[in-house]
């Protein structure tokens, strides 16, 4: 390292290529205090503060995410989310509900009914578009070393159709399309994602083969869940049937007996859901690993060391946090999930940082409002 002759400041020349090391410094304790502060302000403002609350949580989680010793920066503002929300409410949702209301007054019931169906389908489509737009917003507000992430904003409409197509295929195939859907969506999103002007590359075009390695894991989770639910419904049938025999005439049933029946149904169904979710963990973990394996930027490749059991404990911990805090500490659960992935993310190869430039576009201004109004989580779009 030499000195700059004009200032005497040590020159930090950028190396030609860097590998990236991910680490975290997320202060979970600080998030607890923040959660209660947010709750207080949210109550005081009858909910309006929640856009600023979410922004503050993100700012802290991003700031605790360290790449090569430097934190990510979250630049989103609460006001942006608020404006997006207002736009969607007053330009989309209210007109739609007014149209529905007026249609019932002024139109033939048949026509009014089909109009409502059309508007409902439009809502489903827009919520798929919203997944994409929310991701674009979030990336554009994330920067590292002053360079922002970027997701081409022009493809949101196409993405919406593609998601609807995938969901239909998944329904038709009783779920067996979903590994393909997962890989295809990751492919569609990541190949449009860039950091500055450097595009991410997802598997260089072999998407069709991508899902094949996942089907073993998927079969395990599909047949496992099917088995669990067959047993569960058998048990529920036997329990409810047996209780019904004891109770006799359903019209004069002892209310305690009715409560016992409901308890029997939930007592079987909730553990069954847990077991089914547990059986699906190897598939979930494999899908995460596969997406990371197929991702690259410049000459940098990624590895995500996610395994079933840690994923299980993460889920259990988050569930307990959310349940016992009545949802107040859900930012803590989100931060734990984020940290889980950051800690397991590594990279190989190198990226030539000096060759990267800021992308021209500043990204969408208030698009997450659309996602907010549709209650779509930003993380629904896959990894």
């Amino acid at each position: 390292m030499s000195d700059d002759p004009t200032t005497g400041v040590p020159v930090t020349a950028a190396p030609a290529g860097e590998t990236l090391v991910f680490s975290d410094d997320i202060a979970l304790k600080g998030l607890i205090g923040l959660s209660f502060k947010n709750l207080l302000f949210t109550i005081l403002t009858l909910g309006l503060y929640n856009f600023w609350a979410r922004t503050e949580v993100r700012r802290r989680v991003w700031a605790g995410t360290i790449i090569n010793g430097e934190p990510l920066e979250y630049r989103g503002r609460g006001m942006e989310l608020f404006i997006g929300f207002l736009l969607v409410t007053f330009c989309l949702l209210l007109p739609a509900s007014l149209i529905i209301g007026l249609a019932h007054f002024f139109l033939d019931p048949g026509i009014a009914g089909s109009l409502v169906t059309v508007l409902y389908l439009a809502g489903v489509y827009l919520s798929c578009v919203a997944i994409y737009r929310a991701r674009a917003y979030l990336l554009s507000r994330t920067s590292w070393r002053g360079i922002r992430g970027h997701l081409g904003p022009d493809w949101g409409w196409g993405f919406g159709w593609s998601v609807i197509g995938h969901y239909l295929m998944t329904a038709i195939t009783l779920g067996w399309w979903s590994p393909r859907m997962r890989m295809k969506m990751a492919y569609d999103l990541w190949r449009r994602t860039s950091w500055g002007d450097e595009k991410f590359v997802f598997n260089e075009g072999e998407t069709d083969k991508l899902a094949s390695g996942l089907y073993g894991y998927y079969a395990l989770s599909w047949f496992g869940a099917a088995g669990v639910f067959v047993v569960a419904f058998g048990m529920i049938g036997a329990l409810v049937g047996g209780l019904g025999l004891i109770a006799g005439n359903p019209e004069q049933m002892d209310p305690r007996m009715a409560i016992a029946m409901v308890a029997a149904v939930y007592g079987v169904l909730i553990p069954a859901l847990f077991i089914a979710a547990f059986i699906s963990l190897p598939y979930q973990a494999a899908a995460y690993r596969r997406i990371a394996d197929n991702l690259r930027i410049d000459k940098l490749r990624f590895k995500l060391d996610v395994k079933s059991l840690p994923l299980f404990w993460l889920g259990i911990g988050n569930l307990l946090i959310v349940i016992f805090s009545l949802g107040i500490l859900s930012p803590l659960a989100q931060a734990r999930s984020w940290r889980f992935f950051v800690r397991r993310l590594s990279s190989e190869g190198s990226i030539d940082l000096a060759a990267i430039e800021q992308a021209a576009s500043r990204g969408p201004s208030a698009d997450e409002g659309l996602a907010d109004a549709m209650h779509v989580s930003v993380l629904d779009g896959g990894l």
């Binding site: 009858l46 309006l48 007053f90 019931p109 500055g196």
Partner: protein
Amino acid sequence: MSEAGFEGSFVDGKSPVRRTVIVSLDGPDLHIFGNGADVRWPLKKIRADDSPGQGEYFISVRGDHDARLNVKRIPVEVMAVLAHKAPHAFHKRRLQRQGAILIVGLAAGAALLVAAAFFGVPRLAKPLADLVPAAVEARMGQGILAQVDQTIGAPLDNAPAQAQLQHVVSRIDSVAHAGFPLRAHLIESEIANAFALPGGNVIVTCPLIQELQSPAELQAVLAHEIAHVTKRHVMAGLIRAVGAQISLAALTGAGGGQALVSIANQAAQMSYTREDEAEADRAGIAYLEAAKLDASGLATFFDRMAAEKGKDEERGAFMSSHPTSKARAEAARRRPMGAEGQSLNSEEWAMLKTACAPK
């Protein structure tokens, strides 16, 4: 004039190359230089974010979205100047005040929306309802009538009985001047009820006919419902429901608002205010008197309802927007009774009762 500099780390927002730089105060600017960097940021425009847990300032400038200056330690004497000259970045109390203004502003906005929903809209509903042209209201009424068919019950398939009911309504209509033709509809349903829809459609369900004990009670109930139509209470109720929804929409989805909205909706949904009910009672009796019909039915009907519902309703009176049945019966009794006229004779009344008898 440049003061002593301190070290920082700078990215220019164009490329991800971080440079170690010297930062100094230079008049109205912050001067950042060294390693190829040489920029001046007006102190008035700089922002600072002491990132949580990092013990480091992230400084940016308004007008340049991406450039960042990270500073680990700012000398005390520099900080004193910055607090004064860069108020948006380093004036702690000012920043706290901005946060407080946001919370107070949002809370005031939320309070305003709630006030609009619960106080403003109900007061505006009546004048707005009066502005809706009768033809528009009549058209809306047809649409709602089609839904009544599907949700509450189908019209009773008995033309003479329908005609009897229409006869009573027409007689009151001749003195009420609703602005659109009033139509009576006798409906098969599980629940005893009578109500008016926008556009002058008056609905009576068969179980209600069963509960009524005389033609005088029937004409009193109908006169009351017709008064809701002519006084535009129905339209006002609709406007209240929609208005409350619009003014609270900004709170839904924003989190805590949903509960509030459902309360407001229940309160506003096609319901009448206490004043509306009292006015409909008064106007109903006036119509009956003008049509030379017996108005005593209102008192006997509400007397019986008060006896059936008993104490529960008395207790709820303060919560509900409706006067209690007992209070309404008393008010009705205080009014001078009309002529002894009945809209239906005993044979016609018996026929209507039979038509509505459960099969």
